[in-house]
Amino acid sequence: MTFFLQLIVTGVAQGMVYALIAIGFVIILKCSEVFNIAQGHFVLIGGYLGWTFLVLLGLPIWAALLAAIATAVIMGLLIERLMLRPMVGKPVLAVIMMTIALSTVLGGVATLLWGAEYKAYHGLLPTIIMKVGTISIPSESLIGLIVSVICVAILMFLFRYTKIGLAMRATAEDLQVVQSVGIKATTVYAVSWVIASVVGVIGGILLGGVSGANMDLANIGLKAFAVVLLGGVNSVGGAILAGIILGMLENVAAGYLDPILPGGGLAQVFPFFVMIIVLVFRPHGLFGLAHIERV
């Protein structure tokens, strides 16, 4: 039982990080109907940025986080200005192709700057061990959990109660209406890309803190897709819950199934099985917004 709870707790913590990354994805999808293939590559860049600021420059963790966020903001703005803005008004599929290009570019940049090497910064995040009963929570998980919960809370507040949040939700509904009241769609797009880039980078640092930075971090993007599809592509709340579910499944599968099966690695695949089964019965995902149809 302790083992199981242990797996659940680490799973939840890891799932929150997935959820955070997936929110970046959902925001872009909602605002501009673009499926951002490059979301995983933000995570990749984030992992390496974490190493750069924590190890290479030896910054304390808060300074490293701030520096990484600042870099992410600039990256998001540049990407929107240089790659996405020229595509405004073009077919959505063309824009999605552009994000494929973006993922290649970001992968290339990472290789160029950091040599595609494995960079460990394990143990550099502060060590807080928390014990609840017999379960001990590893510090990386705990930090991951806290940081993601804070970020998600900030984002939720932003959407619900600020003017730009209102503009973003409105843009997700009807672009023409939004333009007709004088909201600049380009501003909304820029903000959504900045958010996606920031949450990706933060997620990258959190995951990098657990397993170090390497090119595989980009594949986390795949998990973000799974989270998004499971939660419902246009639901932020759904992404959070689906992220947690996926994190738990992954850990439980790793704990119980991997020792049995030779070779292991089922943990990586198992959540996708579940996703497929859920999608068969609920094509909108668990919490996708139903299309309001008045009859």
């Binding site: 008004g89 003017k163 209102l166 503009a167 939700r169 409105a170 997700a172 509904e173 009807d174 672009l175 023409q176 209406v177 939004v178 333009q179 007709s180 009241v181 004088g182 909201i183 600049k184 769609a185 917004l289 309001i292 008045r294």
Partner: protein
């Protein structure tokens, strides 16, 4: 205030929809744009609001001036800020946002918080039905309520000129009457100029000061609303009335007897 001078509009570089439309809206006036389907009424509104540019349409000739400034090259965001706000055809509510949020979106570019609050109350005064539903998700409102919401949203921008595209579309006759009356009231109370596109010709001419009839992308007839109401062609083709003003009997009428003169 608004002057549309002989504009031509082309969609996707090939489809010419307007071929020389001119009209004027003076301060505090309601101007009705009437005509059959495909005549170019909506396109005219979109040309004014700049919305054409989001649909691969373009004003290729002529000019649109608002308060003496040429606006036909501006984007919709820019034009909205200048004081033109459009309620698009087909009750375009932001379905997953609450009623109040929908209205606040309309006031997005305004800086005067106090004024926005007052205007919110003003909209609720015009549309008490909307007030009761202010926390409701707007996608679930009835058709009439959604139409009121959309007009209210256009109002929230406190525009100098409001463009209304078929506010009566798909509404019950009683509802149409109510909405039309409120539009008139807004025009009188707020001294707001309104350019109104309507299929319901009688309702539109009842409240309008001036009217234009569009056919095949041209203005074929214009004049004060009173004159148009008495115009034989308008009565026959857009109101379905005969000379006497009585409902026409389709059993007796010979269709070829009378044609729209402007089609030839």
């Amino acid at each position: 205030m608004l002057e549309v001078n002989n504009i031509e509009v082309v969609y996707m570089n090939v489809i010419r929809v307007l071929r020389g439309v001119s009209l004027m809206v003076a301060d505090g006036q309601i101007v009705a744009l009437l005509g059959a389907n495909g005549g170019g009424k909506t396109t005219t509104l979109k040309a004014i609001s700049g919305m054409l540019k989001t649909e691969e349409g373009e004003v290729t000739d002529g000019s649109i001036e608002f308060d003496g400034k040429r606006i036909d090259r501006f984007g919709p965001e820019h034009i909205a800020v200048l004081g033109i706000s459009q309620a698009m055809e087909g009750r375009r509510v932001l379905a997953h946002l609450s009623v109040e949020e929908n209205l606040l979106v309309g006031a997005y570019r305004r800086k005067d918080r106090q004024g926005v609050k007052q205007d919110l109350e003003m909209v609720f005064d015009y549309f008490p039905a909307v007030k009761r539903l202010r926390r409701r998700m707007s996608g679930y409102l009835s058709g009439g309520e959604q139409q009121m919401l959309v007009i209210g949203r256009a109002l929230m921008a406190r525009p100098k000129l409001m463009l209304l595209d078929e506010p009566s579309l798909g509404l019950a006759p009683l509802m149409v009457q109510e909405i039309i009356e409120i539009i008139k009231q807004i025009n009188v109370d707020q001294e707001m100029a309104i350019l109104l596109v309507e299929q319901n010709v009688r309702a539109a001419l009842d409240i309008a000061h001036y009217g234009h009839v569009l056919e095949n992308g041209r203005v074929v007839l214009s004049g004060p609303a009173e004159d148009l109401k008495d115009n034989e062609d308008v009565r026959e083709f857009y109101m379905g009335l005969s000379k006497v003003g009585a409902q026409r009997s389709y059993r007796e009428v010979k269709h070829y007897r009378r044609r729209k003169r402007w089609l030839g």
